[in-house]
């Protein structure tokens, strides 16, 4: 068969992405129709920048969701005749799709399918890692900003300590096969993963301590669910085997959370310093409200604007970090289709066969760009009226 021209390649790719288009259209139609009822999310659809960003982000989210429907070849299968073939090359008889739409890499795998599967990996780790970093940053940043004093000095010193590390050095030290043998990642995970549990317990306790039955119910649920997930994620000892994390992945995950948390801490602390002098905080204090209630229920909800914006930006940054890890071949198996390591694989033959590196490079760039635009749109809209 003849190789495809660029027109044919794009047309066929567009067809492969059909579930994504359908989902995007539904999302936008519903959201724009309902935008006045949806608060900040609805306002996003007033800002062209924000809409473009949201569209790009959702494109990748849906791609990750429907990856199984989109891929044309098994991302791990090697068809030796396709090694380093340019985009549009016809695949030999018997493969699941007639072409390698974006060519083959140096191990003769389909670049297009690997890029699509890579989205799934990136979008599984980056938002979750960012969420954990936020839990840690918020749980520590609130008291540091609210109480000040020694606690603040100590925590800020620690945060600055982590921030003073060049990220790559930290990765090289934290994400190595040797360090896994020492159990340090598990200790770190044990420390970092307990924060969400602490966060939710204090959240419910501070609010419902006046109503013990309700409090016990909420805290009980949190404890059961939280500790269940905790045992699985941090120690890989989930009795039911639902929660588990590959040690490789755990290592990467912990390192990324560890790097991000201090920045979140600083942001939260800054916002709290600003908000704690408000009258509604004083009103809470004068009716004898506990410190944690004031932090979690009076201050935190009012800090949500800047935090949501930063959350979007930070997912982008985390994506970049994950790519960096992949680029240096840290913490990922060579088989993995994730974008960073694919770029790393491709760069050796870059000046001769550019496509295996350029495709994931564009994918990563567009996702981060989308997140940045989304954050920008959100920031602009949340500042308006």
């Amino acid at each position: 068969m003849e190789p495809l021209g660029w027109g044919g390649i794009f047309a066929r790719m567009a067809i492969q992405f059909w579930p994504v288009w359908a989902a995007l259209i539904v999302t936008f139609a519903v959201s724009i129709h309902q935008k006045r009822k949806l608060g900040l999310y609805g306002k996003l659809f007033d800002s062209p920048i924000g809409m473009i960003g949201f569209a790009i982000v959702m494109f990748w989210v849906f791609t990750a969701l429907f990856a199984d429907l989109i891929i044309t070849q098994d991302p791990l299968v090697q068809i030796s005749s396709m090694k380093n073939k340019p985009p549009g090359e016809a695949a030999p008889e018997g493969s699941s799709y007639a072409y390698y739409l974006l060519g083959g890499d140096n191990l003769a795998r389909d670049v297009f399918s690997r890029m699509v599967m890579g989205a799934r990996r990136v979008l599984a780790i980056a938002p979750a890692a960012t969420a954990f970093a936020f839990m840690v940053g918020i749980t520590l940043g609130l008291p540091a900003g609210y109480f000040g004093g020694r606690l603040d000095t100590g925590l800020s010193f620690l945060a600055n300590l982590v921030l003073a590390f060049p990220v790559i050095l930290l990765f090289y030290l934290l994400v190595t096969p040797e360090i896994r043998d020492t159990g340090i990642p598990i200790i770190l995970a044990a420390v970092l993963f307990i924060f969400p549990v602490i966060f939710f317990i204090t959240l419910f306790n501070s609010r419902y301590f006046t109503d013990p039955p309700k409090r016990n119910l909420f805290i009980g649920i949190t404890l059961v669910l939280g500790l269940w997930a905790y045992s699985g994620l941090a120690f890989n000892m989930d009795p039911l085997g639902v929660w588990s994390m590959d040690p490789n992945l755990l290592n990467v995950f912990v390192a990324v959370v560890f790097v991000n948390a201090p920045t979140v801490f600083r942001i939260v602390r800054g916002i709290v310093l600003d908000l704690r002098s408000r009258d509604y905080v004083a009103a809470g204090q004068t009716r004898g409200e506990g410190a944690w209630y004031i932090m979690l229920w009076e201050i935190l909800p009012n800090a949500r604007g800047p935090l949501i914006v930063d959350f979007c930006l930070r997912i982008g940054y985390t994506t970049i970090l994950l790519g960096t890890l992949g680029f240096f071949g840290l913490g990922v198996s060579p088989e993995s289709p994730d974008w960073g390591s694919t770029i790393n694989d491709g760069r050796r033959l870059l000046s001769i066969f550019p496509h295996p590196a350029v495709v994931p490079a564009f994918a990563l760039m567009s996702l981060v760009l989308g997140l940045n635009l989304l954050a920008d749109g959100l920031r602009e809209e949340s500042l308006r009226d």
């Binding site: 790559i168 960096t324 760069r347 760039m365």
Partner: protein, 360 residues
Amino acid sequence: MLMFLSRRLGIMALTALCLTFVVFFLTNLEPNLEKLARSEGSVRMSDDQVTSWLEANGHARPLIMRYGEWLGVLPGWTRDVDGSVTGRCIRGGLTAETAPTRCGVLQGNWGQSSVFKRPVGEIMGRSLAATGWLMLWVMIVMVPSALLLGVLAGMREGTRTDRALSTVAIATTATPEYVSGVILIVVFASATAGISPVLAEWGWISGRTLFQGTATSAMDKITFWNFGLPVLTIALYGMGYIARMTRASMTEVMTAQYIRTARLKGVKFRDVVIRHALRNALIAPFTVIMLQFPWLLNGVVIVETLFNYKGFGWTLVQGAGNNDIDLLLSCSVVAVIVVLVTQLISDIGYAFLNPRIRIS
């Protein structure tokens, strides 16, 4: 001011101590030392042999002792086996009698690189010089263009210029070095793709590619063609960020009341921007530029690896990839010092730019 400086220096020293200790701890973990033993001795050493090798080389003592020795505050270890004295400081033709008792970083002894088989001090000196040039050019390209971009965009918020420039800035921050580097190489330095084949066909360039895809030759002589791409790669990523900060700060200043005061005094728009807004608007970006250094270090590591430029970042990757403990430790010391010094400069500069802080 003196108070402030001495306090800052105190905190800096404390931070540096903590950080180097963490690095020391992480590089001297049991598995790392085993690996070191096997790579220095022989790959087929038995576990007992490893243990005895570690003992013979002073690695089998408490961590804090070894850290003290490395730092140079504790005397180096010595070991007397059948009359032949070995020790940390006994090397390079020195005997047990002539060797100093302490030989750590504080004495200027950075140790021996196990990868390059040469003193770390020498390697660091060379690679830092190479990276210095890279950073210098990055700064020359990045800072003025970022500030210009930010000021132009922030001067009149919401206009088409603003939107266009802001989008450019966002796009560059969304493109990490390993992406932009790859794209730049493909576009400008690939013999099969991008613009080079076209230019070569037209006979506009003599070689096969417009720019060079590696910067190795820049170690000897820096030219536009071998240095342009690495510098641009780092500068692009940082530029977007600084430009956005400048824009944000500029738009905030432009809506400030004192700018209205100036406008209603009859000051020309150009003078409002230059005389009244600029200095206030540059206070925030200045700190950002300085705090950008740790980030630039990242870029340096990626770009030097990508373009094969044997500077600090490349050395760090070699050291880390091969578990070269002494090399890695000195890399981290350098990195930490760079970060802390820039933080200090940022604080002092902030106080200098902002009269409100300077006086008090």
